[in-house]
Amino acid sequence: MDQLLNDFSPGLFFMQAIILLILIVLMRKFAWKPILESLQTREDGIKNALDSAEKARLEMQNLQADNKKLLNEARAEREAMLKEAREMKDKMIEAAKTEAETQANSIIEQAHAAIESEKKAAIAELKSHVAGLSIEIAEKVLREELSDNSKQQKLVDSLIGEATLN
């Protein structure tokens, strides 16, 4: 310890303090400040670059997701449209079918009605025809039958005979 105290040189201590102080100030001004600042800016730059790359990646991902969504939407829309069209087609066919059916039915009905009325008319005509014919025939027959008196007598007799029966 005594040896150490003896070796301690206040002058050297003073010189060292001055030199170190000046050195710190000089180095701070000319070296450490610019060095640390440029290191910092460089690190910030790298960090920013990485961040922006990450951001770009995320954006890309978003874009891709958007694209996918759009695609899905389009596909769904197409599907819906197709479905609608199919449905419409079916409906139209159905409608056409029913209309055709009803029309056919009505035509058939009309035809039926026409046939019926024609038939009726024909029957009526036939009836009247038959009646006329029958009257004519009856007239002719009567004329024939009643051409002579005997025959007329005979008829009157028969008729009277019948009448008495009642």
Partner: protein, 392 residues
């Protein structure tokens, strides 16, 4: 350490081209230093050729080795390169001596002491007599012409002066500071050209990031670490470079000077005491959750801990590690001499070389580790001081 190495490897790919740029600048600095050294050295040699002819002070005995190592571990006033034992010439270059004496400021070159370290050479400057004893400069009392020593080899008629000299340690600090300003200034300038550093900056940048992300951020906290980055970075690289300089043959022992480590520790203490949050002072001085009787005792203990023990452990750790490292390396090198008698020159040189190499490799690790630990503990203490607790 392992994570550090990994980080280093991951972040750092030095291309061939950049390596070349780096080596070029290193070469340039090396050449500059060498040129300066040789100019000073020759000048010095010419001046004092005739001073030390009392025969070479060859180092042979364990006592001399011990003394040599102790001398090396101290700060010195000139930059000693080698001694020519044939002629007794010291090849070194002098550094300026700046002392505050009783008569005022005196400046001269350390060459005026003629490498004397025992108080024999007395330099007279405007009525002040100065001499150097064991790497310390003493001022002789008025009227004295010669230093008188007592039984313990303490000078009786001289006292120490305030010594602001550019000693070897101060020179080392200036060199480290210059290297830092050049290296990191270039790195900072490089960012103006582009976001990615080129050249030697590629090796420095991961170190800065390491200090920020592994030392400051986790210990101080994400919000407040910025304010202390200048101090932590400066101290980390300052200590590391000085530790590494200590491993070169130039023989700096800056971080092994107690004054230097005291100064570093005091900086840390001042910083964390002045940036202490309200919570920190509350917890230190009036610890909640303990009986009232204990609180003043705890406050004293905590205060002593923060003001004395923590900085003391900081400064002693760095000082002792570096001193011990230099001591061990030099002792192992000295094995060449101590073992020569017993094992012959070849074996002793081989053993000494192998052991010194091994310890030097460990010392490289320690050089980093001590810088790391100093910065780490500083940021830990700062983190303790600025922390804000959630009150429950």
């Amino acid at each position: 350490m392992c994570t550090f190495a990994q980080n280093f490897r991951e972040r750092n790919f030095i291309s061939l081209e950049n390596m070349m740029v780096a080596t070029k600048s290193i070469k340039f600095i090396a050449i500059l230093v060498l040129m300066m050294t040789s100019v000073f050295a020759f000048a010095n040699e010419g001046e004092h050729d005739n001073q030390h002819h009392e025969g070479g002070n060859k180092i042979d005995t364990p006592e001399e080795i011990k003394e040599y190592i102790a001398h090396h571990l101290k700060d010195s006033h000139d930059f000693h390169l080698y001694t020519n034992n044939e002629t007794g010439t010291h090849v070194s270059f002098p550094l300026p001596v700046i002392v505050w004496t009783s008569e005022g400021l005196r400046t001269f070159m350390s060459s005026e002491f003629h490498h004397d370290d025992n108080g024999h050479v007395i330099v007279e400057k405007d009525g002040v007599k100065l001499t150097k004893i064991h790497s310390k400069i003493y001022e002789l009392e008025a009227g004295a012409d010669e230093v008188v020593f007592d039984d313990h080899h303490h000078a009786e008629n001289a006292h120490k002066v305030l010594d602001f000299s550019i000693t070897k340690s101060v020179f080392g600090m200036l060199l480290a500071g210059l290297l830092m300003i050049l290296g990191f200034g270039a790195l900072a300038k490089g960012y103006k050209k582009g976001a990615i550093p080129t050249g030697f900056g590629r090796a420095l940048e991961p170190l800065v990031i390491y200090v920020r992300d592994e030392i400051a951020r986790p210990n101080i906290g994400e919000k407040k670490y910025r304010k202390f980055m200048s101090f932590l970075l400066t101290v980390f690289f300052f200590i590391w470079i000085l530790n590494l300089l200590g491993l070169t043959p130039l023989g700096f022992n800056v971080t092994g000077q107690i004054a230097v480590t005291v100064c570093l520790a005091i900086f840390t203490v001042v910083i964390y005491l002045f940036s202490g949050s309200k919570d920190f002072w509350g917890h230190t001085l009036w610890m909640p959750g303990v009986p009232y009787i204990l609180r003043p005792i705890l406050a004293v203990i905590e205060l002593i801990g923060f003001v004395l023990i923590k900085p003391f452990s900081l400064l002693v750790r760095l000082f002792a590690n570096m001193t011990a490292g230099h001591f061990v390396v030099m002792s192992l090198i000295a094995l060449v001499i101590t073992m020569k008698e017993a094992f012959g020159p070849v074996a002793s040189t081989g053993v000494s070389l192998a052991l010194a190499l091994f310890i030097s490799v460990i010392e490289i690790l320690v050089a980093f580790l001590q810088a790391f630990i100093f910065t780490m503990l500083s940021s830990l203490f700062i983190g303790m001081a600025v922390e804000e607790h959630d009150h429950h």
